[in-house]
């Protein structure tokens, strides 16, 4: 005790400032959302997804405006032109492309499609067409086609192009610069149609999800907050709905209300809210036991105020994850519905209707299916990546 009483004078000195630094909070304090964004940024795949979605949205909004074509512009002379053209040279500056239907088109060297060439003669009995190009006689002889199809060999020779009586070989392939994704069976530009389809598909995904959000949050919120018997009955109803294959009811609603953009959105939004309701209820059940809810109630806040100001904002993390996961499934379902003929009505196009339209000419014009399919797959993939990232970022259990 006596030793303790002896305090050396040094001990009375002030602690140097640098030692106090240790007590400082070095990391800036982040809000929940800042923290989530920081974690999301570290996840490369979901950032890739986010960038892809933003790019796609920009393309969908501005792409159709930039193009010289409109999504409903038809030009039957330009039907079924692919995105990659095999070209022949006739003279110095004159290039031609032979369509799969044995028509000739004039091209520029860069791959711009100029026009469908007028035939000088079309002999359907001997199966050839002749053209006058730059003073030369160009003959498309397709009399081999019947035998080639009969032989069953996909590589058999089907036609021959003769310039002034001499058979010529293709010079090579060039990308179609006028219609970069090609054209469909009515000569509409596929690039504009695919981007226009992106508008429809993203719109359906987004609005249907927003409707699900409102129904699900209201239903789940009421059920969770009220509790007791009301909760029990409301959740039994949800259990019943959850065991029904809901796609059937989307189809049924579409049949009842008639196909169209509005119907798809309403049908998808009004049927698939069950998961959202369950998630919100679960969150609300745990949040409503918190002290701040009790505090709000003691000072006389109304139920709606507590719901809107305390319960829903605090459940937002899980809700956003569910929303991000629901968008791709809505896009998927829309494509599915369009594919079975319940989509938007012509001449509007979504990716599903484009894929469905391409089905008829699949063997010859596969590119018509390729582009919408790639867009669906990439979009769904991007949303899936983003959703996974959001789940990791917003789930507090994974917080470090």
């Amino acid at each position: 005790m006596a030793e303790n009483a002896k305090i050396s004078p040094q001990q009375w000195e002030r602690v140097p400032a640098e030692k106090l630094e240790k007590e400082k909070i070095s990391r800036p304090s982040l809000t929940y959302w800042q923290d989530a964004w920081r974690r999301l940024k570290k996840n490369h795949l979901s950032m890739l997804g986010l960038v892809a979605i933003i790019l796609l949205t920009i393309l969908a909004i501005f792409g159709p405006m930039m193009s010289q074509f409109d999504y409903s512009d038809q030009d039957l002379t330009m039907s079924n032109l692919p995105s990659k053209l095999e070209y022949y040279q006739v003279s110095e500056d004159s290039y031609i492309y032979l369509h799969k239907e044995y028509r000739l088109y004039s091209l520029t060297k860069k791959g711009e499609v100029l026009e469908k060439l007028p035939e000088a003669k079309n002999d359907m009995i001997n199966k050839f067409r002749s053209y006058e190009i730059d003073g030369k006689e160009v003959v498309v002889d397709y009399s081999f086609a019947a035998a080639a199809i009969k032989s069953g060999d996909p590589n058999a020779k089907k036609f021959e192009i003769r310039i002034d009586g001499e058979a010529v070989q293709p010079m090579g392939k060039v990308w179609n610069k006028t219609y970069i994704f090609g054209t469909d069976h009515l000569g509409r530009d596929l690039y504009v149609r695919v981007l226009y389809g992106a508008r429809i598909s993203l719109l359906v995904g987004l609005i249907a999800t927003v409707i699900q959000f409102f129904i699900g949050v209201t239903y789940g919120g009421i059920s969770g907050y009220t509790g007791g018997r009301v909760d029990n009955i409301m959740m039994r109803i949800v259990d019943i709905i959850a065991t029904i294959p809901l796609l059937l009811y989307v189809i049924l609603l579409m049949v009842v209300m008639g196909a169209g953009l509005k119907t798809i959105i309403i049908a998808l939004g009004s049927v698939y809210w069950v998961t959202m309701a369950r998630i919100v209820r679960g969150q609300v059940l745990s949040i409503k036991e918190q002290e701040y809810v009790l505090a709000a109630r003691t000072i006389g806040a109304s139920t709606w105020r507590i719901m809107a100001r305390h319960l829903i904002p605090n459940a937002m993390g899980s809700i956003i994850v569910a929303l991000a996961m629901n968008i791709p499934s809505a896009i998927f379902t829309e494509a599915f519905l369009s594919f079975i003929g319940l989509g938007v009505s012509a001449p509007m196009a979504s990716w599903g209707t484009l894929a469905n339209d391409a089905l008829g000419g699949l063997r010859t014009y596969a590119y018509q299916l390729f582009y919408p399919s790639i867009f669906i797959a990439v979009t769904v993939l991007a949303f899936n990546f983003l959703g996974d990232g959001l789940r990791d970022a917003l789930d507090p259990r994974l917080r470090k």
Binding site: R236, T243, I244, P245, F336, F339, A355, S373, N384
Partner: protein
Amino acid sequence: MGKYVVRRIIAMIITLWFVCTITFFLMHSIPGGPFTREKELPEAVLQALNEKYHLNDPLWKQYVDYMKGIVVFDLGPSFSRPGATVNQFIEDGFPVSAKLGGVSVLAVIILGIPLGIISALKQNRWEDYVVTVLATVGVAVPGFVIGTTVIYIFSAKLGWLPAYGLTSWKHYIGPVLALSGFSLAFVARLTRSSMLEVLQQDYIRTARAKGLAEGVVIYKHALKNALIPVITYMGPMIAAIMTGSFVTEKIFAIPGMGKYFVEAVGNRDYTLIMGATVFYAAFSIVMIFIVDILYGVIDPRIKLED
């Protein structure tokens, strides 16, 4: 257990009643009735048709008649094909669809689960990456894209597989791929993650510590537990394969129920749509019920009394 089964059966009956009622009233809320055509039918013909299909009866009577029919599995006549009944369509189409769906379910189990196991055991090696990439893409590509791509590459370009019909084993490859693609990818992912989780459990360490062979540890101790989440997915998978059959059967021109259903939607054959919806819903609800019961039998930790 017995009590739980009884409760579930009661819930199932309520669900079925709910399904039938909603379907009935939705279909009857269509303005114009089933015989509204662009070219109007003569009044007398319309009257006769309405008389024949009891459409002049009050709605409640039609509803009671329809429900009576459902109880004895009579789904009524088809509107678009005179003389044919909805039951006939189901009898013709369902066996074909069931065969195709059954093979697809088998494909998911036989391919999806082993892929997931391989992926989990070889975590962060090339096998894992291949499976993960395939599974990620598989979940993002719609069935109709898989189906049409198979037709284009293997039927049109290479000529290896037939493009339509369902007569030999070769005919099954394309439709089964299209039908099971999504579920296969999903099951592989599910198996992988649940296997990885189980492998970290204490009882796996115990099993290894007491000197069991690695094969026994993995297949007897780990896999059994890892498969439980996969079994829960069986119910949704049946629904996914069922609805997937709409597009697959359309693409491959397979005369199954899915194709008839899509055609009925196109023709606005209301009774057939109604009958098929009720049938599909009932089938799926019963399957989910069976899966749930099995789930409780397989996993003794789940108390079915709740």
